[in-house]
Amino acid sequence: MTAQTVRRRRRIDLPTDGDGSGRFLPWIIGLMVYLAALALAGMMALHGAIERWDSALAGTLTVQLPASAGGELEPALKLLRATPGVERAEPLDAAANAALLERWLGPGLAAEELRLPRLIDLRVDPAGLSDTAALAKRLAAVAPSARLDDHRGWLDRLFDVALAIELVAATIVALVASAAVMSIVFATRTGLAIHHGTVEVLHLIGARDTFIAAQFQWPALRLGLRGGLIGLLPALLTLLALSQAAGGVMAGDKVGGAISALPQLTLAPWQWAVLLPLPLAAGITALATARLTVLRALARMP
C-alpha cells in the first residue's frame, strides 16, 4: 500500500453496486423512463397539434348562406367588408366549393348542378374582432338566412378531448415517476439492510447522517443516470419510427390531393430537447430518493 492508494481511495465506503437490488434498478428505471418519454412526447405532440389548429382557425370565420338565399350574399358581403377587424371577405366560387367536396364525392363534380350553400371565407384580425356574437346579430339583420361559423363549437369539443388525453398522459408520467421512486426506496432499504453492520459502525464512529446518506445517494445517481439512458435511447428510436410513419401517412394524404384532417403529431426540435434531460431527471430523482430514504432510516437510530 502506498500513499497513492489512499489518495485514489474511493469516497464510497459501501459496495452498494454489487447489491442484487441495485443491479436491477437501472433496468426498472429504464423501463419507467421509456414509458415516461413516450407519454411526454405524446402529450407534447398533441398539445402542439391543438395549438396549431387553434392558431390556424383563430383568424378564420365562415359565413354560410343557403342556396335559396342567394340574394342575401351582396348585403352580407357589404356588411362584413365594412366591419372593423375583418381583413378579407370573399365568397367561394363554384370551383372552390367543388374542391371542398372532392374528398367525398370525387373529382369532376358538376357543382353547378347541385344546390350547394354559398360560403363566404372571412379572414379577421382576432384582436380587432373579438365579439363574433355581435357580428352574427348584425349579419342576421341584413341576411336573415346567414349563419356565422367561428368553428368554436367543435374546436372546444376537440380541446376537451385533447385535454382529457393530456391529463391521462400526465397521470401516466406521474404514475411512472411514483413507481420509479418506490423502486428506488425499495432498493435503498434493501441496501440499508444488507449493509446494516457497516452503516451502524459508521454511525457509531461519528459519521454524520449526511455522510452515510452520501454512501447511497451517489451510487443511486449513477444507477439512475444509467437507467435513464437505457430508457431514453429506445424511446427516441420509437418516436423517430413513429415520426417517420406519421410523415409517410401525411405524404400519402397529400399525394391523394386532399387537405389532411389529421393533426401533425410530430415534435418540434425544442420538444425533442425536452426529452433529452430525462436521464438526468431520473438520476436526480434517484439521488434525492435514496438520500431521503437513508436519512429517514438513520433518524430512527439513537
Binding site: 500500500m1 489518495r7 459508521l202 457509531l204
Partner: protein, 252 residues
C-alpha cells in the same frame, strides 16, 4: 470530591450517570439505578458475569442506545437536551473496540483504521502517514493492504484497536478486548491501553479476566444483575470482592 488522580470536584466529569435505567423493549431492566462518574484521565475495568449488563452500559456511553430513565452527561453535555445533530461530534471523541471488532469487510486494514479520520473530514493526504504509523505501532506494518477476512483474530483485534485510537479520542471503550487472546497478548494489549491512558485518554475496559485486573490494578466498576458497585485498585489487590463505594467513579 477528589479522584485518585487528584482532580477536584470542579473538574467536569467525562461521563456522568444519575439513576440510569435501561431496558430493551418491554423486557425487564438490564441496568438499574446506575449512578457513576468517570473522571478525565481515569482507567477503569468494567467487570461482571455474562448478562450483567456490561455491554449495555458501554452502549449507553458510546451512544448506541438511549436510557429508559435517568440522566447521562457526556463531556459535559446532558444527552437528554443535546440536539441529535451534535451527537456525531460527541461520538468522534469516543473510541470503541467492539467485542466482535466490527471491521468493514471490503476495506483494507489501512482503510478501516483511516475511517474515523475520514468521517471527521480529514483530508486523505494527511491521513496516510498517521494511519501507517499507527498500524506499525500495533505490529501490522506488513498487513496494511490486507482485508479483515485474511487476518487472524488477534490481527483483526489490533486493527480494531488502531481504528478506535486513531483519532486520539478522549475516551476509549473496549468491550472484552482480551476475550479471544492468550495472556501474553492480553498483557501487551493492556500495556498499550496504559500508554494511551498516560497520554490522557480515559479508558474503560470490560473484561472477565481477573488475573489482568489484579495485575494492572485500576478502578473496578462491577456490574451484577444490572446494578453497579465500584472498587478501588487497593481493594482489588486485597480481595476480589469490591467495596461498595469509592471516590473515583463512585455512586453519588
Amino acid at each position: 470530591m477528589k479522584d485518585r488522580r487528584g482532580s477536584t470536584k470542579g473538574t467536569p466529569d467525562l461521563v456522568r450517570f444519575e439513576n440510569v435505567g435501561m431496558r430493551y423493549g418491554a423486557a425487564r431492566e438490564v441496568l438499574r439505578d446506575i449512578t457513576m462518574r468517570l473522571a478525565p484521565g481515569g482507567f477503569y475495568f468494567l467487570t461482571g458475569p455474562s448478562g450483567a449488563g456490561k455491554s449495555s452500559l458501554l452502549k449507553l456511553i458510546y451512544l448506541a442506545e438511549r436510557p429508559s430513565r435517568g440522566l447521562i452527561s457526556l463531556f459535559g453535555h446532558d444527552l437528554a437536551t443535546t440536539p441529535r445533530e451534535e451527537l456525531p461530534a460527541l461520538r468522534r471523541r469516543i473510541g470503541v473496540v467492539f467485542q466482535d471488532f466490527r471491521l468493514i469487510p471490503h476495506l483494507s486494514a489501512l482503510e478501516n483504521v483511516a475511517l474515523p479520520l475520514r468521517v471527521a473530514g480529514r483530508r486523505d493526504d494527511s491521513v496516510h502517514a498517521n494511519v501507517v504509523e499507527l498500524l506499525r505501532w500495533v505490529g501490522l506494518a506488513e498487513e496494511i493492504d490486507a482485508k479483515p477476512a485474511t487476518l487472524s483474530g488477534g490481527q483483526q483485534q489490533r486493527v480494531a484497536i488502531a481504528r478506535a485510537v486513531v483519532s486520539k479520542p478522549s475516551l476509549l471503550l473496549a468491550d472484552e478486548p482480551t476475550g479471544n487472546v492468550d495472556d501474553l497478548i492480553a498483557t501487551r494489549l493492556l500495556r498499550l491501553f496504559e500508554e494511551l491512558n498516560r497520554q490522557g485518554t480515559t479508558i474503560v475496559v470490560a473484561t472477565h479476566n481477573e488475573s489482568l485486573i489484579a495485575r494492572f490494578r485500576h478502578t473496578r466498576l462491577h456490574l451484577e444483575s444490572g446494578e453497579l458497585t465500584v472498587g478501588t485498585p487497593q481493594a482489588q489487590a486485597a480481595s476480589a470482592a469490591p467495596p461498595a463505594d469509592a471516590e473515583d467513579g463512585a455512586p453519588a
